[in-house]
């Protein structure tokens, strides 16, 4: 596994993505998202499926839920040693699964609820930074260990197989979440690897992605400037890191973060008013390395919000719908209608235009 | 009408305009044959004048109020109604050289026979006169002033 991980290939393929959020914060079980993603079975090829769910650990919402996979017991021991050294582990337990006829070869799946104390030698680093560092360290340094996710009150569940089978394997109907995102994978050139399935996650960011980032080579180098090591086989991780960089570290509002990643074309910028134009030019000039080129549509989850957006020419499909408090973002309208037959509104967002789902005012989930 | 503008500052004095003028007005229109067999019978309608580093290729200016036409006693020198070019009808020319006397540019010559006048005809039948087309430095530029 370690050698495979070092392979710099990025994942290429067409895929299915879907995401459902209840903006009232009302949580709902995972069978809905499974039905939605199952509807797009044909878009994946059984080499990967996965989910991220928000609001699933309300009783431990001050702790980072680290979902990990290990190919070997040694890896688990090494990781736990590292965890003991760097963090306070409040709870360690296997991630519940059920035997499933379509799923085999699963790795050791374990979750840890942790906190990290401030590093006195590096007072400028907050707990989030330390968690990211730990996440990167495990992925980069511990052989055969891999972090699925490490965010508060959320978690990623993924593996090799069709997404609906993975969902059943992870017994997702037993979790309640206010955001569910899911992914069915159709990789064209990598063999299945559990860590390689979507979503990709950093802190509470989780991303499902349909497409290919042709700017991956420079995005990766750009992120490295800011301490993000892209060690995975897929380009999806750069999106996760990019969101983290732009929104968490640089504090850009969502619109601007998205306009860095999928900026308007220069000829559109030329038509803007002076202030807007200066802003757009500055973003493109400064954040050129963050521009995500190539065809993609993503659904991004983070605490309290779900974002859908696509590349600036919208070379991958994305359709949205609303029904009451619920926001649906999916590759296909059918995947929405199968769980919500009669939505209030269905629309196709513009290329590069972010679609945002947010918890209603006053709703607290953490 | 079409006019050839002479861009003095771009003339490199190579003389290719003269060469191609001779070819164009030869019977064979083959450069080798034109120079081997017909050269003595053709006076090019363009002439490169040189003085130190200065040079320019001069051909009939096809003046608006052409003094050669005014001076021509036979009517041989005339303006082509279609192209506006000043042409010499050698059938009617008697070689009185009134045109040579009148042309302020010195752009009318005695033809090779010494009997009739010879001058630039703007390359009848060509879209672009050959001196213009073959000038390697665009020192001759064809312009259309719109007037007829």
């Amino acid at each position: 596994m370690a050698t495979r991980r070092l392979l710099p290939f990025k994942d290429m393929g067409g895929c299915s993505i879907t995401g459902i959020m209840d903006e009232s914060g009302r949580r709902f079980a995972g069978d809905t998202i499974i039905r939605s993603i199952r509807n797009m079975h044909e878009r994946s090829n059984g080499l990967g499926g996965g989910f991220a769910a928000y609001g699933i650990y309300p009783e431990r919402d001050e702790q980072y839920a680290m979902h990990l996979m290990f190919d070997t017991h040694q890896a688990k021991r090494d990781t736990e040693a590292l965890l003991d050294q760097r963090a306070t582990v409040h709870l360690a337990e296997p991630i519940p699964t059920r035997a499933h006829p379509a799923i085999s070869g699963e790795p050791i799946l374990h979750r840890y609820f942790v906190n990290i104390e401030a590093d006195r030698g590096r007072p400028h680093l907050g707990e989030d930074d330390l968690v990211v560092e730990l996440h990167m360290q495990i992925n980069a340094e511990v052989e055969d260990a891999f972090v699925f996710s490490a965010g508060k009150n959320m978690g990623c569940f993924k593996g090799v197989g069709y997404p609906e089978d993975i969902g059943e394997f992870f017994r997702l109907e037993e979790y309640d979440a206010y955001i569910w995102i899911a992914h069915g994978r159709f990789p064209t050139n990598t063999t299945g690897w559990w860590g390689g399935a979507h979503p990709f996650s950093l802190l509470d960011w989780a991303i499902v992605h349909n497409g290919e980032i042709s700017s991956y080579g420079i995005n990766k180098r750009y992120l490295r400037n800011f301490g993000y090591e892209c060690t995975l086989q897929t380009d999806t991780e750069v999106i996760a890191y990019m969101f983290d960089l732009l929104m968490r570290k640089h504090g850009l509002p969502l619109e601007l973060a998205c306009s860095a990643m999928a900026p308007p074309f220069w000829n559109e910028i030329e038509r803007m008013d002076e202030v807007e134009q200066a802003q757009a030019r500055a973003i493109r000039a400064v954040y050129g390395g963050a521009l995500l080129n190539g065809p993609f549509a993503v659904v991004v989850g983070s605490t309290g919000r779900m974002i859908g957006f696509s590349d600036r020419t919208k070379l991958r499909p994305q359709v949205c719908a609303r029904s009451g408090d619920r926001l649906y973002i999916s590759s296909e309208e059918a995947a929405i209608r199968t769980v919500c037959p009669d939505p209030d509104v269905v629309w196709h967002p513009e290329a590069g235009e972010p679609v945002l789902g947010e918890l209603q005012a006053g709703v607290k989930v953490n | 009408m079409k006019r050839i503008r002479i861009c003095e500052e771009h003339c490199i004095g190579c003389g290719l305009c003269e060469v191609h003028c001779v070819v164009q007005h030869s019977r064979s229109r083959n450069i080798i044959r034109a120079f081997r067999e017909e050269r003595d019978g053709i006076v090019p309608g363009v002439k490169v004048e040189r003085d130190g580093h200065l040079s320019f290729a001069l051909q009939c200016r096809h003046c608006e109020d052409a003094p050669c036409i005014e001076a021509c006693m036979t009517g041989a020198m005339h303006r082509d109604p279609e192209t506006g070019a000043v042409l010499c009808d050698t059938e009617r020319c008697v070689g009185c050289w009134m045109c040579i006397m009148a042309c302020p540019a010195g752009a009318v010559q005695r033809g090779a026979s010494g009997k009739v006048a010879s001058k630039c005809d703007l390359c009848i039948g060509e879209d672009v006169p050959v001196c213009v087309a073959n000038c390697p430095n665009e020192a001759l530029v064809l312009e259309d002033d719109g007037d007829d």
């Binding site: 290919e212 042709s214 700017s215 500055a282 521009l291 065809p295 | 490199i12 191609h20």
Partner: protein, 503 residues
């Protein structure tokens, strides 16, 4: 003593069947190779004086002339090449330093040719640049690491972006001074840059009054001779470049002989008429990096921080550290000139043997600046023999923001690379001040050809990017994933930071 050991390098063949004795060749050769014998009525040629510039061949209306290199005039010897022998004869006869012009012609590896580009297949649609946007707009200049916004419903940009050069195509015309090239050539470069929306560089030739109208598309250079430099000059241009070194002659100054310092050049360079224009090897006020910083900030003060100030350095050993120093000294862009970069005149030994390939220099500098987290503090411009659009794409993928083309631009204007620029007798009217020769370059034609060249490259770059599925140049820049090496050793691949073809 007659130079009897020096042999003709070229042989001129005149086809008697085709020659029409039109004397065009006689008039066009400034080296007086062709001569018309009025008595015999025939043109004769003297191969000894031929420099192989092909002016006569190009203009001969009957294709009666051919000029060929003399191949076997010495007993063959793989070590003692004809050039090596000739050089020794020349030095034995004349003494002195061997001089030459243009870039390094030696058969050293061209690494661009050992890198191949990627294209999309199936999973990622390639893009047709004729139907869809394909963006090459490039900003050169220091950029902040991040933008700060004032919050609120309508976020307002707080960070002010420093001065930037806006390039419609990531290719600029390299430093070529008025003096080393003719006024017409300088003018053509400036006009073409302004037409295309890129920049031309004055070199240290000053800014001629006739070129000033195009100054907003000019980068003015401040070199060790400080020719033509005053506050007006600095403020007239779009950007200022401090020249530390030149790829063709790192560590060497420049020398424009007095006879080339015409009235116009004297006025433009602000030096006395007819005096030698000598650029010292170093700037005598820059003996270390902190001195460079002082000069950079002196220029920034003079230009009220409204112009990007760059530093041009030759690609030499430790280039990454040097470039990093320049960036830290405040350069808004760093121009690196590789060892194949051109020149109007350089000692042959220096040109052919000093410096390193731009490919390695670029790879090292880009990586180093990223490692140090200062890549966005300066743009990287690379120079040193970009021959085609693919070279440019490869350079950008390797990490450059833009390329400088010098030789390519001259070739577009007609240069035949005879390498005799230093003689001042350029038959193509480019590297000369002789009024008889300079008129051979009609700036209107030269502008058209330069614009055509950049437009073609622009189209080709777009095609290549479209093939990769990239529609903005910022996604190509530094994207080494799109490069693969062939015939390179592991060390070379690592140095370039690319993988091997097939990986």
């Amino acid at each position: 003593m007659p130079e009897w050991l020096t042999q003709a390098e070229f042989v001129i063949e005149r086809d008697p069947e085709r020659c029409i004795q039109c004397k065009v060749c006689v008039r066009q050769c400034a080296n007086e190779v062709h001569r018309f014998d009025a008595e015999l009525g025939e043109v004769f040629s003297d191969s000894d004086k031929c420099v192989g510039c092909h002016r006569c061949v190009s203009l001969c209306p009957t294709n009666a002339l051919s000029v060929r290199q003399v191949e076997l005039d010495f007993r063959s010897n793989a070590n003692w090449t004809p050039q090596a022998i000739r050089n020794i004869y020349k030095q034995a006869e004349q003494g002195g330093v061997l001089l030459t012009g243009m870039g390094n012609p030696e058969p050293l590896p061209v690494y661009w040719d050992r890198m191949l580009l990627n294209a999309s297949q199936v999973t990622n649609p390639s893009i047709d640049p004729l139907r869809e946007p394909m963006e090459l707009l490039t900003y050169l200049g220091a950029k902040p690491t991040r933008l700060k916004y004032e919050g609120g419903d309508e976020p307002r940009l707080e960070t002010e972006l420093g001065p930037q050069l806006e390039l419609q195509v990531p290719v600029m015309f390299s430093t070529m001074s008025y003096g080393s090239i003719s006024y017409n050539a300088s003018l053509a470069l400036a006009r073409a840059a302004s037409e295309v929306g890129t920049y031309a560089n004055t070199g240290e030739g000053g800014l001629h009054a006739g070129i000033r109208p195009f100054a907003k598309n000019m980068i003015v250079q401040v070199a060790s001779g400080r020719f033509g430099v005053d506050a007006d000059y600095l403020n007239a241009a779009a950007a200022v470049e401090i020249k530390i070194g030149q790829g063709a002659k790192p560590g060497i100054g420049g020398h424009l002989p007095g006879e080339k310092v015409t009235a116009e050049i004297s006025a433009t360079r602000m030096i006395p008429l007819g005096t030698d224009a000598i650029s010292p090897a170093p700037h005598h006020d820059i003996y270390s990096i902190e001195d460079l910083r002082q000069l950079i900030y002196a220029i920034k003060e003079t230009t009220r921080y409204r112009k990007p100030v760059g530093v041009k350095i030759a690609a030499v050993h430790h280039i990454a550290a040097i470039a990093s120093g320049a960036v830290r000294a405040g350069a808004d862009f760093v121009a690196i000139d590789g060892y194949r970069g051109g020149t109007g005149a350089a000692p042959t030994m220096i040109r052919n043997n000093v410096g390193i390939p731009i490919e390695f220099a670029l790879a090292a500098v880009d990586a180093r600046l990223r490692e140090e987290g200062i890549r966005q503090d300066a743009s990287l411009v690379v120079a040193g023999s970009f021959r085609c659009a693919a070279d440019v794409v490869k350079a950008i993928a390797l990490g450059a923001d833009a390329c400088y083309i010098g030789t390519g631009a001259l070739v577009a204007m007609g240069c035949h690379l005879c390498q005799k620029c230093y003689t001042g007798r350029c038959n193509w009217g480019i590297a000369t001040q002789d009024p008889y020769l300079t008129r051979r370059l009609n700036p209107n034609i030269a502008v058209r050809r330069l614009v055509n060249l950049l437009e073609s490259w622009r189209h080709e770059i777009k095609e290549i990017m479209g093939g990769m599925g990239i529609n903005a140049v910022e996604s190509l820049r530094g994207n080494r994933d799109h490069l693969r090496g062939i015939g390179l050793t592991d060390r070379e691949l690592n140095a370039l930071g690319i993988q091997m073809a097939g990986e």
